[in-house]
Symmetry: C2
Subunit: 229 residues, 2 copies
DNA sequence: CATACAGTACGAAACGCACCGTTTCGCCAA
DNA sequence: TTGGCGAAACGGTGCGTTTCGTACTGTATG
């Protein structure tokens, strides 16, 4: 507009970032896409925490980012894909570095899931996002790209434990992950607040020891009431 | 329209139905609401299975039901409330009649949850519905009315078992319900198909015996692949 | 080395369409 | 008389697409 952006050295500064993106159409298709790309992701993240997923709008993002609506449509097929890209940049989540202590590692995994679920505004975005992805399978791949790495790393961890005899040999490690993931997502959605440390302990206890005691200790404000209430 | 419904005896026939509804404005407020009410619920259910929750629209329902849009807005505050009412009529679900066999009863409970989840078209409606309810707490009450009775009856069942020593005395029975509910909802959403009998067995096995074996037997086409895939 | 020429992403703006949620207006039955 | 009803229209918002002129790019050319 009034402050025309400089154009020297842009190319080299942005190149690596483009390479890290889940190419929607092409890695850095043809030419540059300059800072519009960042502005869109930035606006998406901001608006996501301001108005939530449902009220998030391409038009709103375009306005906020100071970008043409057409530009957004050019690079992202739909809202879900855009949000997933924004989210995956937001939650760095290195692969779990195992301590060898199965219980501690699993606890970490559960915490990471909780962190992912609560990464954004209220924890309500995941059901909405999930619903969108389900409806339009176009985004399924991107969604998988977001959760699958985490999933896989935990399954690997559990599989190793199983093969080493630290878990019963016939354990369904894959379902283990689904159980704590599903529970975490469900509790977060229904209680409108992600589960706390107590639930982490309870889930791990159930999965590893088959024991599901009520949360002992000071009860950190989670699970006071059940979903329906 | 061309086949005007009879109206004799309607009042008495419908009265109990109204009483069972989560009065949005009033049970059978002031005057009658006649068959428009049924037509709307009918159209809602039909369209729900045809186009799913997201593409379900007040205008579409009005068209299909041969009813004025204003009439729908008069009686239901939003889409979620309407869908919840339509759903709760659809899944009769008597309270579980206990057999005394805890394992069998819990198995039944899990199956009922699966049935609820798959009651409608593809199993995708629950995340979308959940997201809507979360966003607009207006419908929270109605939603609770849909799931809470089931939840409560299972908790009661589990509590009885716990007090009778058939479960460890410190068991968190409430979380037990959340765990299988969450897992079922999550698997259904992510796999795009409700879990099958194998998962029922696995969940019950985990919750009651602390044992989570891979599904034995012919493996009825569920859980072949994991969510992310 | 400088200049001209595609090629193409970009912003702005507008398009028709669908649905939103509300309001107005007769009509008709209680 | 009252009030729910269907029909129809309201302004508003977002969709997804298209058109346009501009700005910048990499490459070809003098």
């Amino acid at each position: 507009m009034d402050t025309p952006r400089r154009q020297d050295g842009r190319q080299s500064a942005l190149a690596p970032e483009y390479a890290a993106q889940p190419d929607h159409i092409a890695p850095d298709s043809r030419r540059r896409r300059r800072e519009s790309h960042e502005a869109v992701l930035r606006a998406t993240k901001d608006l996501l925490s301001e108005v939530g997923y449902q009220r998030l709008t391409f038009e709103g993002i375009a306005r906020r980012a100071g970008v043409s609506k057409a530009t957004i449509y050019r690079w992202w097929p739909n809202k879900a894909a855009l949000v997933i890209e924004a989210l995956s940049g937001e939650v760095p989540l290195p692969p779990i570095h195992e301590t060898g202590d199965l219980e501690a590692d699993l606890r970490t995994a559960v915490r990471l899931t909780i962190e992912l679920v609560s990464a954004m505004p209220t924890c309500l975005i995941l059901p909405a996002l999930l619903a969108d992805v389900i409806e339009d399978p176009t985004g399924t791949g991107a969604f998988a790209e977001l959760i699958e790495p985490r999933r896989a790393s935990v399954v690997k961890l559990l599989e190793r434990a199983r093969l080493e005899g630290r878990l019963p040999p016939d354990t369904d490690t894959s379902l283990m992950v689904d159980i704590y993931s599903g529970t975490v997502v469900y509790l977060a959605a229904v209680n409108r607040i992600p589960p706390g440390e107590a639930v982490v302990g309870q889930l791990v206890s159930l999965l590893l020891h088959g024991h599901l005691p009520v949360s002992k200790g000071p009860a950190p404000a989670d699970r006071e009431e059940s979903p329906g209430a």
